[in-house]
Amino acid sequence: MLLEVTELKKYFPVGGGKMLRAVDSVTFGIEKGETLGLVGESGCGKSTLGRTIIGLYEPTGGRIVFDGQDVTRLKGKQRRQFTKNMQMIFQDPYASLNPRMTVADLVGEGLDIHKTYRAEARQKRIFELLDLVGLSQEHASRFPHEFSGGQRQRIGIARALAIEPKLIICDEPISALDVSIQAQVVNLLEDLQKELGLTYLFIAHDLAMVEHISDRIAVMYLGAMVELAPAGEVMTRPLHPYTRALLSAVPFADPVASRQRKRIKLEGDVPSPISILQGCKFQTRCPYCTEACKRQAPPLKEVEPGRYVACLNDQAIAAQ
């Protein structure tokens, strides 16, 4: 395992002694060279999970082990050393690039911080990176506002690749882009993975795109991971009632088949992550909810080799 996350928690104080449980005891691992897709609706804690893993937030509890090293609470020099291994690509290519810096300086920022390349080697490395993401050397002296959304995201990718990380956390890297441009960026990410042996944690809400890019998919709901399995399995044979409802809501580009698909409609809204629910997080909206679900939070258990589900009634649901 390249990355192992154990019972990771991130709570935010919201005043009055209350806590918002954004990430509540999440356990999973990512193999080297794999793409793990992380899906869920807004507010389910998927971005917070990504940001906590990379160290933008300090975890409230739990452990993060990267390549055998416990990186949960690294500080100072050790933290800086470690950040070389893990980088992030952000959602909004307009907000995540400093408008006053040239592309060369944006891409080279990581090189300067870690002092890995200097002077001519730095310049050469920057050109190399621009080439790698499909931009040209002439772009180096320009500013972000001169680029389109897709090109900006390429700059963001070059920036993340600069210090040769092993794991890249992609936080909705394509959500802000147009459909035809999304495909360009996804293809680029896939090519880079093959070429450089990268590992991705791919956070997104577009399920079709996640299925396309991921080896395995993890589904989150209200701060908890409810299902984790190979991508094809999740998409064709989801086991958790939430995953089933989520997938059934996704329309696809086929008017006849899409209109005929069976839909599982969920009642009500996602409960607030501030109120503390006893038992399963999905109980308020689950059609299969039993008394036991209200008493005990279901653990993420392996029901088949490589398939994890956090549900007490998964067998009854799978039998249907």
């Binding site: 035809s180 495909a183 989520l246 809501a249 580009a253 086929d254 008017p255």
Partner: protein, 354 residues
């Protein structure tokens, strides 16, 4: 005129041109758009950002500030009456009463300082001669119709107390409160999660059945289009490049841009084996639009004429219209999975999820 009154479309846009005067030059955002819509019909306008779909919709209600926007030509007829010739005070009677609009982000389009109830009643009190009590009852009825529980309580709440889906429902209630003939929905589900998105799509379909409202929906999500639309118009660089029935557009698309759009979305069930087919390049700069077909520079099937002259809109088989030189009788016959008839079956593969 009265004999063929039934056959007159509810909304008819003819050769609409809209430009924006900017420091950099004249941006020709809409370049000759023609559309028509029948009563109770759902027409989807799809295209990438910057293709002019929102500008077209906003021009119907003349919501674009002028300057910088200028309507340079064309007609927008609502049941035969040209809205472009209407004065501002006449337009004010059209907005909300005959045509109303909902926007992408329900949080920024609701007033955070006013109770939801008052915001919904505002439209009724402005357009109809009714008492406050009647307006209140009508607003409660609308909230119930759009599926909000405890409407009386909701009336007293503020927008921040609503979730994203509830806000969009409230927006729809507000838009439909005066029983308009047309609802324009500009990316109504883009800011919402998929489960909420499917609820809103269902709601719009249901309201169309009940109220016979014509809906003009603007979106870039082909999945939503497949679920909701009766007819589809595909826009590119300020023009409609293809339009037709929803099934025609998805199963027998004729324009290379539509092929590209459909190919760049991942097919369900193919996983990592299939490589996505993006459309290379970027849309043209509309300050200096190309004189030929605007898609020529990105088109795999581009011919010499495409760069030279703008293709005319032609009627293609299956009752749909295409703006492409490939439709010309002398053009080579292009082999594509959509032209060979494989497109339809291929897409039907998605039904395994049902």
């Amino acid at each position: 005129m009265s004999e063929n009154k039934d056959r007159k479309p509810l909304l008819k846009i003819e050769d609409l041109h809209v430009s924006f005067m900017t420091y950099a030059g004249r941006v020709q955002a809409v370049r000759g758009v023609s559309l028509s819509m029948e009563k109770g019909e759902i027409l989807a306008v799809v295209g990438e950002s910057g293709c002019g779909k929102s500008v077209t919709a906003q021009t119907i209600l003349q919501l674009n500030p002028s300057p910088p926007s200028v309507i340079e030509g064309g007609k927008i007829e609502l049941e035969g009456r040209d809205l472009i010739k209407c004065s501002e005070s006449e337009m004010r009677k059209v907005r909300g009463r005959e045509i109303s609009m909902i926007f992408q982000d329900p949080m920024t389009s609701l007033n955070p300082t006013a109770r939801v109830g008052n915001q919904i009643m505002e439209g009724i009190l402005k357009h109809q001669k009714v008492s406050r009590k009647q307006a209140y009852d009508r607003a409660v009825e609308m909230l119930r119709l759009v599926g909000l529980s405890n409407p009386e309580q909701r009336m007293r709440q503020y927008p921040h107390e609503f979730s994203g889906g509830m806000r969009q429902r409230a927006m729809i209630a507000m838009a439909l409160v005066c029983d308009p003939k047309i609802l324009i929905a500009d990316e109504p589900t883009t800011a919402l999660d998929v489960t909420i998105q499917s609820q809103i799509v269902d709601l719009m379909l249901e309201l169309r059945e009940k109220l016979k409202t014509g809906i003009l929906i603007i979106t870039h999500d082909m999945g939503v289009v497949a679920d909701i639309a009766d007819r589809v118009a595909v826009m590119y660089a300020g023009m409609i490049v293809e339009s037709g029935d929803v099934q025609e557009i998805f199963y027998h698309p004729k324009h290379p841009y539509t092929w590209g759009l459909l190919d760049s979305i991942p097919k369900p069930g193919t996983g990592r084996t299939d490589r996505l087919v993006p459309i290379d390049g970027t849309p043209p700069d509309l300050i200096y639009p190309p004189k030929g077909c605007p898609f020529a520079a990105r088109c795999d099937y581009c011919m010499k004429i495409c760069h030279e002259r703008m293709p005319e809109i032609t009627d293609a088989a299956g009752g749909h219209q295409v703006r492409c030189w490939l439709q010309h009788e002398y053009a080579p016959k292009v082999e594509n999975r959509y032209t060979t008839g494989e497109g339809g079956e291929d897409h039907a593969a998605g039904s395994h999820r049902a």
